[in-house]
C-alpha cells in the first residue's frame, strides 16, 4: 500500500513536470480548457460588469462635488462640439461625393472587432485578460489588441467565444516596435518590476532614440498593423558594457484599467 502510494506520487510528479514544459509555450488550447473557458464566460462577464459599476458608483459618491463641476464644463463643451459636428458632417458628405468623383474604392487595411474585458489573470505574474470575443467572431491567434489610446497587447489563446490577451507589460511577450520620429526599430516588452512600464530593448548605444519620442508598432511579422501608438520614451538606461541601451517606455493606456478594447488585424495578414 505504502509502495503503491509512492509510485502514484512519483508518476504524478513526472507527469506534472512534463505538462509544465509542454504548456510553457503558446499553443492551441485543449478541449478541456475550451469547456472551462466557455463555462466561466457568462458569469465572468456579469461579475466583471457588476464590480466595475460598483467601483464607478463608489468613485462617483466620493467625487460628487468635483463631478458636478466637471458636468457643467462638459455641458458647455458638448454645445461647442455639436456645432463642430455639424461642420464635420458637411465635410463627410463632401468627402463621399469627391471620392465618387475620383472613383476611389473605400479601403481599409485593418479589420477591427470590438470586445469587452470579462476577466483578468489571477496570478501576480499573469498580466493577461480575457475578452468576450473568440474565433467564432473572427479573432485569431496573435491579433493585436488596442484601445483608442494605443496598443495594449496581443491574443495568445482563442476559444470559440473568448480569447486570452497577453498585455504589453507581461514578461512572457514582446511586440515589434519603432520610434515614430526616427523610425528606429526595436522590440518592446514589459520590464517585469510591477511598475507597468515597458522597455524598447537591444538598442545600439548610438541609436537615434530620445526622451519623449513616441513608440509605435513597426508591423514586422505581418500580424499587428503598423503605426499603432504604444507609448512614449520616459527614460533611457545604458547597459554596463556601454554597447547597448534600452529605452523605458510609458504606455499611453493604463493597462490595469481596461474595460473595452478593439481586436485589430491586417486584412490578409500572415499566419503564424
Amino acid at each position: 500500500m505504502e509502495n503503491r502510494n509512492k509510485i502514484i506520487i512519483f508518476f504524478l510528479l513526472v507527469a506534472c513536470i512534463v505538462t509544465v514544459r509542454l504548456s510553457s509555450k503558446d499553443r492551441e488550447i485543449t478541449q478541456v480548457e475550451r469547456i472551462l473557458a466557455e463555462g466561466f464566460r457568462p458569469m465572468q462577464q456579469s461579475l466583471m460588469q457588476a464590480t466595475e459599476n460598483l467601483i464607478l458608483f463608489a468613485e462617483g459618491v466620493s467625487n460628487h462635488p468635483a463631478v458636478a463641476r466637471e458636468n457643467e464644463l462638459l455641458k458647455s463643451q458638448i454645445a461647442q462640439m455639436e456645432v463642430e459636428t455639424d461642420l464635420e458632417r458637411e465635410y463627410y458628405f463632401e468627402n463621399i461625393r469627391l471620392r465618387k468623383l475620383l472613383n476611389m474604392r473605400e479601403t481599409s487595411e485593418w479589420q477591427v472587432i470590438a470586445a469587452d474585458v470579462i476577466a483578468r489573470g489571477i496570478k501576480s505574474w499573469d498580466d493577461t485578460m480575457t475578452i468576450n470575443m473568440g474565433e467564432d467572431d473572427g479573432v485569431s491567434l496573435y491579433d493585436g489588441v488596442m484601445t483608442y489610446n494605443g496598443l495594449v497587447g496581443k491574443i495568445y489563446q482563442v476559444s470559440p467565444h473568448t480569447a486570452e490577451v497577453r498585455l504589453l507589460n507581461n514578461r512572457l511577450g514582446s511586440v515589434a516596435a519603432m520610434t515614430e520620429q526616427t523610425r528606429f526599430p526595436g522590440v518592446i516588452e514589459g520590464i517585469g518590476d510591477g511598475s507597468g512600464l515597458l522597455q524598447l530593448i537591444y538598442l545600439p548605444h548610438d541609436a537615434p532614440v530620445d526622451l519623449n519620442q513616441t513608440v509605435v508598432t513597426s508591423g514586422l511579422g505581418g500580424l499587428i498593423p503598423k503605426e499603432i501608438k504604444i507609448g512614449y520614451i520616459s527614460s533611457i538606461d545604458y547597459n554596463e558594457d556601454g554597447l547597448l541601451k534600452s529605452a523605458i517606455v510609458t504606455p499611453f493606456e493604463d493597462l490595469d484599467r481596461l474595460e473595452e478594447v478593439l481586436v485589430v488585424k491586417l486584412e490578409g495578414g500572415v499566419s503564424p
Binding site: S23, S24, M43, L47, G121, S124, E164, G192
Partner: protein
Amino acid sequence: MRIREWLIWLVIIYTSLLLESSVLVHFTIFGAKPDLLLVGVVLVGLMQGKQEALSKGFFVGLLEDLFIGRFIGSNALVKALVGFLSGQVEREIVKENVVIAVSMVWVFTIVNHLFYGALMILLGNANILGLDYLRTLLTSAFYNGLLTIVMFPMFYFLLIKGTLKKTKRL
C-alpha cells in the same frame, strides 16, 4: 459521500476562480493578487491533516492550471506540497484559533511562492518571476492572511462540522 464532497470542492474552486478573475482583480495590493484556493488548501491541512490537504491541493491546483492555461501542473504540484506541509502541524495547533490560521496562511503563502519560484527556475521559466518577486511574495502573504479572517469561519464550519467533515475510511 465522496462524490458529494468532490462536487462541493468543484463549487468552491469555480467560485474562487470566478471571484479571483472578475472581482478581486480590481482590488490588488501593490500588484499582488489574492489566492483563495491556496488559503483553502492550507486551511484543509490545518484542520484535516496532510493526506487530505495533499489530495485537495493537487486537485485544486490542477483545475487552477487548466483555467490559467499555462504551465499546467505547476500549481498542482506546488499546492499539493504546500497542503502536505501545512498538514504536518495539524496535531500541534488549536484548530479553533483564527490567529494561528492567519499566521500559518502567511507562512505557507511564502512557502508556496518560494516553491513555485524554484520550480520555474528549474524548468527554465525564471523570466515570469519578475523583478518584483520578493515584494509580490510578501504582499501576497499579507493579502492571503487578511482573506483568511473572512474565509476561516466558512471553512471551519465545512471541514470540522459540516459536509466536508473528515470521516474515518476503512
